[in-house]
């Protein structure tokens, strides 16, 4: 029984990896005032770019870098259109999601019509010395692949950075009251563009999870809504990295549960158990979180020298 629980918790942490990375992506972007509903598209684009480059070059490292680059490029598009041209942030986000589906599907069929070449692989599982040998906690926390560890490190780093550094203070100021931030000399546009691109890189890491860590191949639409669940985790976590992590772990757990039950041979209808994460989210969001408070200026374009009303 104990080993089942250990496996369940370990899988939960693995499954939470893309969700927490996506939620961090949303957090750094939205804290500076830019809505990012394109996390799903950025992850999908990164998953494909990472896979395609890793397969063509035989280098997981290059694949990894390409995944981050793909996320950053889509984020750059989002940033330039929303910050420089004040285009509606939800619209650009939606368009990027559609674009990512189209581009990845298109190139996937053009490049790998006859199936991807053999030799693709995933990042190795790391076994943290000493800590990995601790019973129970070792297998749950300290025997994972690199991205899973990296996600946890990033949660801590970003939590600190957002609330304890100058960049964090500026980010929050720009997200809450850009005019006031501008008045004290903060470059609102530059900071927002930078944060959105950082968000793109984080989403790119989340995308890399799918093809470089989870499975060594790409399927169209393989992110399967994780980007949107990440968005939910971000809101659930009240726009803080630690909160988002907690939420992502909960999602990871509910994703791991049906898998574990199936392995254990329980005869429960798969579809009904798979509903669990989603039902639980609604219960938690409605019952426990209540009214979430987004950064005050989120979604509102800021144009220097003009006062946007409302």
């Amino acid at each position: 029984m104990l080993d089942v629980v250990v496996a369940l918790l370990a899988i939960s942490i693995v499954k939470s990896t893309p969700i927490v990375l996506g939620a961090l992506s949303g957090t750094v972007s939205e804290r500076s005032g830019i809505v990012n509903i394109a996390i799903e598209g950025m992850m999908l684009g990164a998953a494909f770019a990472g896979f395609a480059v890793a397969v063509q070059t035989g280098s997981l490292g290059l694949g990894f870098v390409s995944a981050m680059l793909a996320g950053a490029l889509l984020a750059l598009l989002h940033a330039v259109l929303t910050v420089r041209y004040a285009v509606d942030q939800i619209i650009t986000g939606t368009a990027i999601n559609i674009l990512a589906v189209g581009l990845t599907g298109f190139f996937n069929r053009q490049l790998f019509a006859t199936g991807a070449p053999a030799g693709a692989m995933v990042l190795p599982r790391l076994h943290v010395p000493v800590l990995g040998d601790v019973p129970v906690l070792g297998p749950i926390l300290f025997q994972h692949q690199p991205l899973t560890f990296l996600a946890i490190v990033l949660v801590i780093v970003l939590q600190w950075a957002l609330f304890r550094t100058r960049w964090g203070l500026r980010t929050r100021a720009v997200g809450e009251h850009p005019l006031a931030a501008d008045t004290v000399g903060i470059h609102v546009s530059r900071l927002r563009i930078g944060n959105v691109i950082l968000g793109g890189i984080l989403a790119g890491l989340g995308g890399a999870y799918f093809t470089l860590e989870s499975v060594p191949h790409f399927e169209p639409l393989m992110t399967n809504g994780r980007g949107f669940i990440a968005l939910a985790a971000m809101i659930f976590g009240k726009w803080t990295p630690l909160g988002a992590w907690g939420a992502a772990l909960l999602f990871g757990f509910t994703e791991a549960l049906p898998v574990t039950l199936q392995i254990q041979g329980f005869a429960v209808p798969y579809q009904l158990v798979s509903m669990l994460p989603y039902v639980l989210t609604i219960v938690v969001v409605a019952g426990l979180v209540g009214r979430a408070h987004a950064p005050a200026a989120v979604g509102v374009p800021y144009l220097k020298g003009q006062r946007a009303s409302g």
């Binding site: 259109l81 619209i91 189209g102 581009l103 599907g105 949107f228 374009p301 946007a308």
Partner: protein
């Protein structure tokens, strides 16, 4: 600030569509394909023949309804990402009433099935609205979650309780709906059906509701300025629930009409994509009920033609999504289009008022 004229807006939209298609052609050409052959297929499959036009209209019908659904919610300051799920419960419920209710004559049975589908969609979206009004749960989260719940739930019922018991049917799908619950075709031997007219009628109905009725005024006021709405004595909670329920009604009808007018049965995966495309359709139509119609026709034509394009040129169907994404971007970033094609009539710089006018993104962080 002067508003651009309707003609100019339409010109910009048309240029955006053409630019999107041109970008798709460049993508095809860069990857070694033949854009002329591909777009020839696209044309042939979407508008080139009467049967193709019929297919375009068949595709457009659910797009109109689901686009209206998302657009109506946008007007009320709500982002209904759940059209996908509402569509699937609408389709399943309509199919269930369509095949299980016996002995009711034609128009009555059809109306019953349509109403059931509409009601199912309304219930699912209304639940999200109620949760928001009651507890403040963000509708973006709840509608996405309800999407998965709806898709898994319909999948469960389709492979069990509501599965066609015939030994010849191995896949998960419902039995065919009875003749008495089917939407008749508009012309013999073309698939386009009376559901299209119903969708167009509902678009006009939505326009009337939003811009000519008291309820519509309440919906728009809550969407634009909740504090003003509260001051005017409008019940925000009630309006939010009602807006979501109406939005879900339209999405549910989209699913019901697809089942009762085209396929005559429901199967998992049939609706996948409609829900998300409908967000783009609503945005493309600027969340205006009458603007949704041309947007839906464009998306319908692209989807209908894509299959033929892939068949004649081997260019992957996905290029259509690229084209759609670019068109959506350009319609939103219309200043870019104006600048690129040097269309005057508007100052080059974006004004703050216009930026603040953006009705969609600013509802995101609203806590009321």
């Amino acid at each position: 600030m002067e508003r651009p004229s309707l003609a100019q807006t339409l010109l910009v939209q048309a240029l955006a569509a053409l630019t999107g298609l041109a970008a798709g052609a460049i993508l095809i050409w860069l990857t070694g394909g033949d854009p002329i052959l591909a777009y020839g297929g696209l044309w042939e499959g979407s508008l080139g023949r009467p049967a193709s036009i019929s297919e375009t209209l068949v595709w457009s019908t659910p797009y109109i309804l689901a686009g209206l659904a998302v657009g109506l919610a946008f007007r009320g300051g709500l982002f209904n990402i759940g059209a996908e799920g509402q569509l699937s419960v609408g389709a399943l419920t309509a199919a269930w009433v369509g095949f299980s209710v016996q002995g009711v004559p034609w128009p009555a049975h059809l109306l019953l099935a349509l109403a059931a589908g509409a009601l199912a969609g309304a219930a699912l979206a209304g639940l999200a609205g109620w949760l928001k009004a009651r507890t403040g749960a963000h509708e973006v989260i709840t509608t996405i979650m309800l999407n998965y719940i709806a898709l898994l739930g319909t999948g469960y019922l389709l492979s069990g309780l509501l599965k066609d018991p015939s030994p010849f049917v191995v896949v998960a799908q419902t039995p065919k709906v009875l003749e008495s619950a089917r939407i008749p075709a508009l012309f013999s031997d073309l698939r386009v059906h009376w559901g299209l007219l119903l969708a167009l009628l509902l678009a006009v109905g939505c326009w009337w509701l939003l811009f000519r009725s008291t309820l519509g005024f309440a919906i728009r006021t809550v969407g634009l300025n909740p504090s003003a709405a509260r001051y005017a004595g409008i019940s925000i909670a009630g309006t939010v629930v009602l807006t979501m329920a109406l939005s879900g009604t339209l999405a549910g009808l989209a699913g019901a009409i697809e089942v009762l007018g085209v396929n005559y049965y429901h199967t998992p995966g049939f609706s996948v994509g409609y829900g998300f495309d409908s967000i783009a359709v609503a945005l493309l139509g600027k969340s205006h009920p009458l603007g949704v119609i041309p947007a839906a026709l464009l998306f319908g034509a692209l989807r209908a033609g894509a299959t033929r394009m892939q068949f004649v040129s081997q260019i992957p169907i996905d290029v259509i999504s690229v084209v759609q994404g670019i068109i959506l971007l350009l319609v939103a970033a219309d200043d870019l289009v104006r600048r690129f094609y040097r269309i005057g009539g508007r100052p080059a710089a974006v004004s703050a008022e216009r930026a603040a006018e953006g009705t969609v993104a600013r509802t995101w962080g609203r806590a009321d």
